[in-house]
Subunit: 497 residues, 2 copies
C-alpha cells in the first residue's frame, strides 16, 4: 500500500486528518487565547485570494466598502429582540477601559458607563447609521460592504470552521421595496455561488433555509450548502432578506416619490474564513492540501535541481526564465502565478513541501534539462510520483490548458464524491433515521417536506437538520419524510458543521 | 473676496475646517460609540489606495501577511514591563463572554477566568508565536505583517487622527543580529517615506525619536514627521528597533551556526488610518479635500452636460468613450482611473461635489463639444472657476502629463508651506519659548540639542516636543537650545498632533 504524506488518512480519522492538512501546509494554528487562531502566511495568502475574487464581484454589483466600529453598545444591540436572543450566548463584553497593577497583577480598572459588545455581526450598528443617512427615495438603494473581524464566543473551536474570532465580509443594504431587497438577496447569493463553485470549485446547492435555521432577525435566509469529504454539510455563505425587522428596530425611514414616509427593506450577507475550511475539506487528499488553480497563491512552483555546483548558474537562469515566460501567460483572466523555490534543501523535500501546500503544478529543472529544453512536471490532481517530461516551451504554451484541466479535475472529483454520497430514494422517517443512525452515517438526502412548523424537531435525535430548500426543485409530489403528509417541496437533509 | 465651498476657512478655525473637509467629502463621521468612527465609502476608498500601495512595498521587501488574534491575555501583555506601562491607561478589557436579560436590561454574564485586552498593538502576541516558531538560524529572518484593527482608549477623539479603534498594519520581524534588525528598521522607515512622501506627496523629515518619545519597549524609534497646514507636526509612521527586550520577555531564542543558543533581535513598525488625517491636513484648501493623483480613487471625473434630452445619448456615449480611452493610459505604473458621473443633478452641483471630494481633474462634455471634440477641464490644483478647453484626444494623450503636473504642484505647495513655517535661527531657550508662546504659535524649529536625559522636560510648559533627530544632520557645532551646552546634534522641535 502506498504511504501517504500525512500521518493520518481521511478514512482513519477525518477530524485529525483535517488538522494534519492544516499543519502540513503550515496554514494556521490555535493561539494561546481560547478559541482564537493564528492564520499563518500560506493560510492567509489563500484567504487573500478569496477576498480579492469576492471583493471584485461585490464592487461590480455596485457595493461600496466602508468600515464600522468594532464595539456595539448594549442599548443598540438590544433593539431587535430575536437578533439579541440569537447572539447573547456568545458575545465578548468589554466592561473596562484601563488596567492597573495591583500586587504584581494587572487588573481591569475604569469601568465603562455602558458595557460594549465586540460585534458578532453589524446589523444593529449599521442600521443606526442607515437611519441617519437615509432620508429620501433618492438615497436608495444604499449598498455597503465591510471586511472585518467578528467575535462569537466558541466553546469547541476548530481552525477556520469555528473560531471565537473570525474574518469575514458583511454586506448591508437598504431598499425602497421588498422586491428590490429580495433581488439583492438573490444577487448576492449568486455572487457567493460564482466565487465558491466556479472559482473555489466546491459543488453547491443554493437554497432557502427552513424557519428553524434562519438568521436571527431575518424573514428569509438563503444559503449555499456544500458537502465535505466526510459526507457532512457546510454552510458556505448566507444571504438574508431582513424585511422591515431592522428598519423598525432602528427606524430606518424614507420619503417616497409621493412624499409618504415608509420603512426601508434591508438585506445582509456574509462569507468568512470558514470558506478556507470548506476548501480544505472538499479537495484535499491524504497527501495534504489541494488547491484549485484560481485560488492557489502559486499556481506553478519551479524547483531548480542542482546536483553539482557548476550547473547552479545555468539551472537557476533557466528556472527564472521559465517563471518569467509563464507570468506572461494568462489563466482565468489573470497572469499565471509562477514561483521559483530557491531555498537550500533537497529536491524531494521541497517537492513534498509544495505537494502538502497543494500547489497545482510542480516543475523540476536540472542540468540535463538545459540541453533538451525539458522539465519534469508533477500535477497535484494525479498521483504524487506520476510525472511527465514536456518541453519547457510546451508548458508555457499550454500553461492555461494544464491549469484548466486541473481545475476541472478537482471539480469533477468533488462532484462525483457528492453524487456517491447523496440519496433521493428515502421516503419515510424510519428509513431516514436508519440511514443517519451512527456517528459516521452521513451524506445528503433529498426528500419531500410538508413545511409544517415544528416538524423538524424529530431530527435533533440523530443530529440531522434541513440544510436547505433547494432553489432547483424537482416539482414532483410525494410524502413528507418527517410527517408522512402530502408534500411537493424538496429539501436537503444532512449532518452539518 | 471669493466665497469658498466650506463654511469655515483654515485661517478662521483650523480644527473646525478639518471637520468640514471630512464632512464635505463625505469621508467619515463619529459613531455612537465613544471615540470610534465610521469610515464612509470615499474615506475608505482612499484608505484602500494607501493600503494597496503600502502592501505592495511590504511584499516586495520580503514580508508575508498573516493574522493574529484580537485578544491578548493579561498574563501575556504583562511580560514586558515598559510596554504594559505605556499602554495600560488606554486598554479595552473584555471580562465576560455572555449577555443575559435581567428586568428588560441586557447584562454581562459568564465572567472569563482571565480577562483579555483588545490589542493596542501585537508585540506580545506575536512574540509568543515567534518563541514557538523559531528554533534555528535557518528560521531567520522571520518577517511578518498584519492588517488589523487596534484599540487604544481615547478621551478626546478626532476623526482619523485619534480614535479609540483604528485600522493599521503592524510589521513584526526577528533577526539573528542587531545589525540585521537595525537594517530592517531603516528599510521599513524608507518604505513609509516612499509611500507617504513620493505617493501621498506629504513632505517628510525622517529621523530618530529622542528617548522621551520612544515606543514603550523600544531601543530606538524612527519616525517620519510631517507638517500640517496649521504648522503642527504629525508623526506619520514609526519603525522600532526593539533590541532583545521582547525576545527576553517571550524567550525568543535560536541556535546559531555554531550551535550556541542566542536571543533574536526584533523590530516592529506601523502606519495607520491616521495617514488619511495627515493627507487631509497637508493638501486640502478652503474648498475641501485635494487628493494627490496616485491616491485619488478617481483621478479624472467626467460630467455629461445634458441641457436637452435629445443630446443625452451622444453626450453619454462621448463620455463613456473618453473614460475608456483614459483607462488605456497609464500614470505612475497603473491604468488611469476615470469615472463618468451619470447621476441626475445639475452640472454645477456635481462639479462642486467632486471638488470637495478632491478629485484631481474634472471634465465636462456637453452637446457643443461633440462637434469640436473638446471638453471643459478643471484642475483641483488651480482655482475652481479656472478652466481650459482642450481637445478630448489631447486630454487622452496628455493624461499622464496633467496628472504629473498636479502631483508636483501639490508637493511643491506643501514644501513651500513647510519652508515658510520652519526656522533654524533660534539658538537659546528664551527665544524658543517666545517663538512658541500662544496657542497659534507653531511651525518647525531646527536647533541644536545636547542629548542630556531630562533636558526635554522644560518643553512641556509650552506644549512642544522634540519631534525627531533628523537622519540628515547638518554636521555643524553650536549651543543646545535647551541647556546652552555645546552640541552638534540637530533636532526638530514642534507642537504636534
Amino acid at each position: 500500500m502506498a504511504k501517504n504524506a500525512l500521518p493520518v488518512t481521511r478514512a482513519e480519522n477525518f477530524a485529525n486528518w483535517y488538522q494534519e492538512v492544516i499543519k502540513a501546509a503550515d496554514m494556521a494554528e490555535h493561539s494561546g487565547v481560547r478559541g482564537c487562531m493564528v492564520i499563518k502566511p500560506w493560510g492567509y495568502k489563500i484567504w487573500e485570494r478569496i477576498q480579492r475574487l469576492l471583493d471584485n464581484r461585490i464592487q461590480e454589483t455596485g457595493h461600496d466598502n466602508c468600515y464600522f466600529p468594532l464595539f456595539i453598545p448594549l442599548s443598540l444591540i438590544q433593539k431587535e429582540a430575536s437578533h439579541v436572543e440569537g447572539f447573547a450566548k456568545e458575545m465578548a463584553v468589554v466592561t473596562h477601559h484601563r488596567l492597573v497593577m495591583e500586587e504584581g497583577q494587572l487588573k481591569p480598572a475604569a469601568p465603562l458607563e455602558e458595557p460594549l459588545v465586540v460585534r458578532p455581526t453589524s446589523e444593529t450598528m449599521i442600521g443606526e447609521a442607515f437611519a441617519r443617512w437615509i432620508e429620501s427615495y433618492r438615497d436608495l438603494p444604499l449598498k455597503l460592504n465591510q471586511w472585518a473581524n467578528v467575535v462569537r464566543w466558541e466553546m469547541r473551536p476548530r481552525l477556520f470552521l469555528r473560531t471565537s474570532e473570525f474574518l469575514w465580509q458583511e454586506g448591508h443594504t437598504a431598499h425602497a421595496t421588498a422586491e428590490d431587497a429580495m433581488d439583492e438577496t438573490k444577487t448576492m447569493l449568486e455572487v457567493y455561488r460564482q466565487v465558491v463553485e466556479d472559482m473555489m470549485r466546491i459543488p453547491l446547492i443554493p437554497g432557502e433555509k427552513s424557519p428553524g435555521e434562519r438568521f436571527p432577525g431575518a424573514v428569509e435566509t438563503h444559503t449555499i450548502e456544500a458537502m465535505m469529504q466526510d459526507g457532512r454539510a457546510l454552510q458556505a455563505g448566507t444571504s438574508h432578506y431582513l424585511g422591515q425587522n431592522f428598519a423598525k428596530a432602528a427606524n430606518i425611514a424614507f420619503q417616497d416619490e409621493t412624499g409618504q414616509q415608509k420603512l426601508v427593506h434591508t438585506t445582509s450577507w456574509g462569507a468568512s474564513t470558514r470558506l478556507v475550511g470548506g476548501l480544505i475539506m472538499t479537495h484535499s487528499d491524504d497527501d495534504g492540501l489541494r488547491l484549485p488553480p484560481i485560488i492557489a497563491p502559486h499556481q506553478i512552483v519551479i524547483l531548480p535541481i542542482i546536483r553539482d555546483e557548476s550547473a547552479r548558474g545555468p539551472v537557476m537562469e533557466a528556472c527564472q526564465k521559465l517563471a518569467g515566460q509563464l507570468g506572461q501567460q494568462r489563466f482565468a483572466g489573470e497572469p499565471v502565478r509562477a514561483f521559483v523555490d530557491t531555498r537550500e534543501d533537497s529536491a524531494a523535500n521541497k517537492r513534498w513541501a509544495w505537494i502538502k501546500k497543494g500547489v497545482p503544478i510542480i516543475c523540476e529543472i536540472g542540468p540535463r534539462d538545459l540541453e533538451n529544453g525539458t522539465l519534469a512536471l508533477f500535477r497535484r490532481d494525479l498521483a504524487p510520483n506520476e510525472k511527465s517530461f514536456p518541453k519547457q516551451e510546451d508548458l508555457v504554451a499550454q500553461a492555461a490548458a494544464y491549469l484548466g484541466e486541473i481545475d476541472q479535475a478537482l471539480f469533477d472529483q468533488a462532484n462525483a464524491f457528492r453524487k456517491a454520497q447523496s440519496r433521493d430514494d428515502i421516503t419515510d422517517f424510519a428509513d431516514l433515521k436508519a440511514h443517519f443512525a451512527g456517528e459516521n452515517k452521513t451524506g445528503f438526502v433529498r426528500a419531500k417536506w410538508c413545511g409544517d412548523p415544528g416538524s423538524e424537531g424529530g431530527l435533533d435525535e440523530f443530529g440531522v437538520t434541513i440544510r436547505c430548500i433547494p432553489h432547483e426543485q424537482s416539482g414532483t409530489a410525494g410524502k413528507c419524510v418527517l410527517t408522512g403528509k402530502d408534500a411537493t417541496t424538496d429539501v436537503i437533509l444532512a449532518k452539518a458543521y
